[in-house]
């Protein structure tokens, strides 16, 4: 008898809780559907998906490094986040705006549960965001030229940012019952991105800038994943903790009470603080040492492969790419004459990671004979740049000497570099800093740039217009003269059988 009496109220209580949960879940599903179908969210997703489709194939010229691809979409997701913020805020305020609050306030499901349901309604949007992020990353990862590895922490940042903004929208509605609050907060957030974007690494790599949801870097340099050392996992923890804190604060502001809620809020704050503090800690000494080592003495970390007579040394992630480099070297050497045709080269991948991602540092040219530097990026303009460096080393002997080439040899270098590429004229335009095919210009290479005079440009353009079968024998025949120091451009033009430029060589 006693047992029965004891049990009955417990059972009733349990049912009540459970029904509250299931009702809140049903409400969350209902609100989630409305949220996903609201016009701003639909538009934001449309823009985001269009951006993925438009951007991903060309990301890093089709040779993506996955340690960069994992955070490529984060900034664009802010748009989705802002749309979710405004829409979920309006959804929470709907009852007040439509004057149904008086009715809803006396329904079985209490106010705090309704607030909680609104916070839960964010989950499907966040999941959809995660699916989009994964699709974008997966697309990059499946490309044949992809190298490196992504970080789960970075992939989580996008969806968690959307969750954070949504939770902010719910909390805002519970604090300020005005429809203008969310649009105005959005303006403030837009301002913050501009300001944060203006100082991408304002106070070093770490520090307070990691408190913003999406942390961008000033550098476009691709580093090996192990040297990146972005505290992505701690940042994800920080975002998750912050989002949970805001959502639970909204439930508290909506009238929720009880020790479980208080404890959960305290736990969420603890998560946010832990993540927030740890992510801001300065870059560790071992990372600094590893970066120094990779920059100054890469040979200790690299694997070398032989293709033909030349050796190709790459960081572990990039060994697969040595084939592409070897193809370019083979093309350049097969057009050359003399000993250059068989000269063994050392192609070494080099980076300058001493400044982390805070700045793009130029790589010093190597003075080691017959050594060519190649960077971490590939595809697009990087191919003619590397090709130019190979040709310059074959003609001048080493990179340092190639940087100060100022005579007719520059014609030979550029012709060697470009004539076997699929679109020589386009490559000529791309490899020059000002995208021109006339006049003097700077020619880019993985290390220091080289310079072409207007006359050299005219001769190279003329040569590239002729069939390779006509020029190659002349290059081979006159190789020694063509590569002799101080040879004039006019003489080179004469040897190769094209019109000589009017102006004399004069380097700027």
């Amino acid at each position: 008898m006693t047992a029965v009496l004891d049990e009955t109220p417990v059972a009733t209580h349990g049912t009540g809780r459970r029904s509250s949960w299931s009702a809140a879940l049903a409400l969350a599903l209902f609100e989630a559907r409305r949220l996903l179908l609201s016009l701003p969210v639909l538009l934001a997703f449309a823009v985001y998906v269009a951006w993925i489709v438009w951007q991903t194939p060309d990301f890093e010229d089709g040779y993506p490094a996955l340690q960069d691809a994992d955070r490529a979409g984060q900034s664009t997701l802010l748009l989705v986040g802002l749309a979710v913020l405004v829409c979920v805020n309006q959804a929470v305020l709907r009852a007040k705006r439509r004057d149904t609050e008086r009715h809803f306030a006396v329904l079985v499901l209490p106010g705090p549960w309704r607030t909680g349901a609104h916070a839960l309604s964010l989950v499907p949007v966040v999941v959809l965001t995660a699916v989009c992020t994964l699709a974008q990353f997966g697309w990059s990862a499946l490309r044949s030229g992809a190298v490196g590895s992504g970080s789960p922490g970075e992939l989580l940042v996008g969806p968690l940012t959307v969750l954070l903004f949504g939770a902010l929208g719910v909390l805002l509605a519970r604090l300020v019952a005005s429809p203008i609050a969310a649009p105005l907060i959005t303006v403030v957030l837009i301002l913050m991105f501009f300001v944060a974007g203006g100082f991408p690494a304002g106070d070093g790599e770490r520090g307070l800038r990691w408190l913003t949801p999406v942390v961008t870097e000033a550098s476009s340099q691709t580093l090996p994943a192990s040297l990146l050392d972005r505290p992505a996992a701690w940042h994800a923890l920080y975002l998750a903790g912050l989002a949970l804190t805001l959502a639970l604060l909204a439930v508290l502001a909506g009238g929720g009470r009880g020790w479980m809620l208080t404890a959960a809020t305290a736990g969420a704050v603890a998560l946010a603080v832990t993540g927030g503090v740890l992510q801001c800690a300065p870059v560790g000494a071992d990372t600094r040492a590893a970066r120094e080592r990779a920059s100054v003495s890469p040979e200790k970390l690299q694997t070398c492969v032989r293709h033909g007579s030349s050796t190709y040394c790459a960081f572990p992630d990039w060994t697969a790419r040595t084939d592409s480099w070897a193809d370019v070297v083979h093309d350049v050497q097969s057009s050359a004459g003399g000993t250059a045709r068989t000269q063994p080269l050392l192609v070494r991948q080099r980076i300058d990671a001493r400044y982390g991602l805070t700045a793009d540092a130029a790589i010093e040219p190597s003075s080691t004979p017959h050594q060519v530097t190649v960077g971490t990026a590939w595809g697009g303009n990087r191919v003619p740049e590397f090709s130019a460096a190979v040709a310059a080393v074959l003609v001048a002997g080493d990179e340092k000497a190639a940087g100060s080439l100022c005579d007719g040899r520059m014609v030979t270098v550029m012709w060697l570099a470009l004539n076997r590429l699929p679109h020589p004229m386009t490559s000529l335009r791309n490899v020059r800093l000002d995208d021109s095919v006339t006049g003097s210009a700077i020619v880019l290479s993985p290390t220091n740039p080289m310079s072409m005079t207007a006359g050299q440009t005219d001769v190279v353009r003329e040569l590239l217009g002729r069939p390779a079968g006509e020029i190659t024998p002349r290059v081979r025949a006159h190789w020694a003269e063509l590569t002799a120091p101080k040879v004039t451009t006019a003489h080179v033009a004469e040897l190769l059988g094209v019109a000589a430029p009017k102006a004399a060589d004069k380097c700027e």
């Binding site: 802002l82 429809p179 203008i180 649009p183 303006v187």
Partner: protein, 243 residues
């Protein structure tokens, strides 16, 4: 029972009476205006500009421009709510034209906006302030665009308070436009950029377009043309708010 001897006071007003209506309307329309939203927007705008002053840091010229543009956006978001009118259905069929009613609202908000803009400019130290005339053009274009979008919302929907949708649309445009506008259409150029002049010719175009849009949306249509976008039936007791 009609009050005997009552004059048809309405009968007095004909041509020229619109001015008197406008004058009489100023005070109640001023009371009916949703002041809180523009005030919040303007306040936030000034706050954005005041923060560097209060913290005694001097922003770089590019940052000063970003701050001013965000302040303009905040104010425009406030203005998006200006056409909200809870009494819209009650006053739907009065003889005073919508254009005149809107003009009265505009007459009330314009001096306030002008004052606000002056204060906003003064908050930025003169040596880092971007060209005042050009930036005033940007501000005018964005504010008129917000008002025109509000007028369009009133024209195309039956909602008494479309402000929040207008604000959302404005924000969406503000975020997406800088991302998607191709270079030859660039509007948001930094100071000292060689495209500054051309960009501000485009801003003048935006202003003109906004004014035209506003002009189109002001009159109440006599016919439901092909552009009649009211697709939802306003009838039925179950859906009175129809928003």
């Amino acid at each position: 029972m009609r009050v005997s001897g009552q004059v048809r006071v309405g009968g007095q007003v004909r041509v020229g009476g619109q001015v008197r209506v406008a004058r009489e309307l100023l005070l109640p329309a001023g009371r009916a205006l949703p002041w809180r939203s523009p005030a919040a927007g303007a306040g936030l705008g000034l706050l954005i500009l005041a923060v560097p002053r209060l913290t005694d840091t001097e922003p770089a010229p590019w940052l000063a421009l970003v701050l001013l543009r965000c302040a303009i956006l905040a104010h425009a978001v406030g203005l998006a709510f200006l056409m909200d009118d809870p009494a819209r259905h009650t006053t739907a069929t009065v003889p005073t034209r919508r254009a005149l009613r809107t003009a009265v609202r505009l007459a009330l908000i314009t001096p306030v906006t002008a004052l606000w803009w002056t204060a906003a400019l003064l908050l930025v130290p003169s040596h880092i302030r971007p060209p005042t005339g050009d930036l005033t053009l940007e501000a005018a274009a964005v504010c008129v665009l917000a008002l025109a979008a509000g007028a369009a919302a009133v024209r195309l929907t039956d909602a008494p308070a479309p402000g929040v949708s207008v604000a959302a649309a404005l924000l969406f445009t503000a975020v997406v436009a800088p991302l998607l506008l191709p270079d030859q259409w660039a509007l948001f150029v930094p100071p000292g950029d060689q495209r500054w002049g051309v960009a501000h010719e485009r801003w003048a175009g935006v202003l003109a377009g906004a004014v035209v849009l506003w002009g189109i949306c002001l009159p109440e249509p006599l016919r439901r043309g092909p552009g009649a976008l009211r697709l939802r039936s306003p009838c039925g007791t179950s859906d009175p708010s129809r928003t």
